[in-house]
């Protein structure tokens, strides 16, 4: 059996890659994808602790996290499309409508 710490470390690394992805990419679609990576890292953690604590509650939480992720992607992509129609760019640095 693979020990718990391996899963947790994997989850940390995936989370870090997601954070770096959010910070370094210019394209807003890539930022959304990096958010997906972060949510997946959290899900790995939840499932691993659920297995090692012999409790199913963590897997229920993973289910809800996936629900929220799906909703987030749908609304996020709709916002991206609307913003692209207005500004004709997908670069996060150019979305400065709220600056005065």
């Amino acid at each position: 059996m693979v020990p718990l710490s391996y899963f947790v470390t994997l989850s940390f690394l995936l989370f870090t890659i997601g954070v770096i992805g959010i910070l370094i990419r210019r394209n807003i679609l890539m930022v959304l994808m990096a958010i997906e990576l972060i949510l997946n890292a959290v899900n790995i953690n939840l499932v691993a602790f659920s297995r090692f604590h012999q409790s199913l509650d963590g897997q229920i939480f993973v289910f809800f996290v996936m629900t929220i992720a799906a909703a987030e992607v749908v609304v996020g992509l709709a916002i991206v499309i609307v913003a692209f129609r207005r500004r004709a760019t997908v670069n996060v640095a150019e979305f400065n409508l709220m600056k005065w």
Binding site: V2, P3, L4, S5, F7, V8, L10, F12, L14, F15, T16, I17, G18, V19, I20, G21, I22, L23, I24, R25, R26, N27, L29, M30, L32, M33, E36, L37, N40, N43, I44, V47, S50, R51, F52, Q54, S55, L56, Q59, I60, F63, M66, T67, I68, A70, A71, V73, V74, V75, L77, A78, I79, I81, V82, F84, R85, A88, T89, V90, A93
Partner: protein, 192 residues
């Protein structure tokens, strides 16, 4: 494989390659779930993430593919990388430094081994977690309505578009149904 796929996903200059590397990552995460004897979560992972969300991304990427900037990375990306590693160091310090990393004894079979993972999750979901489940459904409904509303073109654009004689006044023009609403039906499919 997971980490390699994720690294390619955030660094590939071409967005389609990024999406496909993300797909590799997600499928391997599903493999991790099976290793942890969470078969239901693995199936949901493949259906929802690899099936629905990636298809959604690819559709939007096809809209945007010719509008990509020449520069994929942010100009200040060393700052981002170092911030990310600071976060990693903090997490590792908290996990390994506080003695939380003790692994306990050898594990027995999972408690849900008798009835099967899916049945156990279903029983728990519809009894103890019934109210959060209903809230999740409402969130999905709100997301669906919100995406369709956002994806609809504005009235000004509608007036500029040539009329095909089939507008009903307030609904979306049939020819103007945006990709968002079409893809959202795909998005909803796994939830049924």
């Amino acid at each position: 494989m997971i980490l390699g796929g994720a690294t390619i996903a955030i660094t590939a200059p071409n967005l389609i390659y990024s999406a496909l590397a993300l797909l590799v990552t997600l499928i391997h995460v599903a493999g991790i779930y099976i290793l942890l004897s969470a078969e239901f979560v693995a199936a949901v992972q493949i259906i929802v993430y690899a099936g629905a969300i990636l298809v959604l991304y690819l559709f939007v990427l096809m809209i945007f593919s010719e509008h990509q900037g020449t520069q994929a990375l942010h100009t200040s990306f060393p700052v981002g990388v170092s911030l990310g590693f600071i976060v990693l160091a903090e997490m590792l310090m908290v996990y390994w430094g506080t003695g939380a990393a003790s692994d306990g004894g050898p594990l027995g079979p999972p408690v849900w081994a008798k009835a099967g993972n899916t049945q156990a999750i279903g029983a728990l979901l519809y009894t103890k977690y019934l109210f959060p489940f209903e809230i999740a459904s409402i969130i999905l409904l709100v997301a669906m309505v919100g995406a369709i509303t956002l994806g609809k073109r504005s009235h000004k654009a509608k007036e500029l578009a040539p009329a095909n004689g089939s507008t009903n006044g307030f609904g979306a023009h049939p020819a103007q149904v945006t990709p968002v609403s079409v893809e959202h039906r795909r998005e909803e499919a796994p939830r049924v």
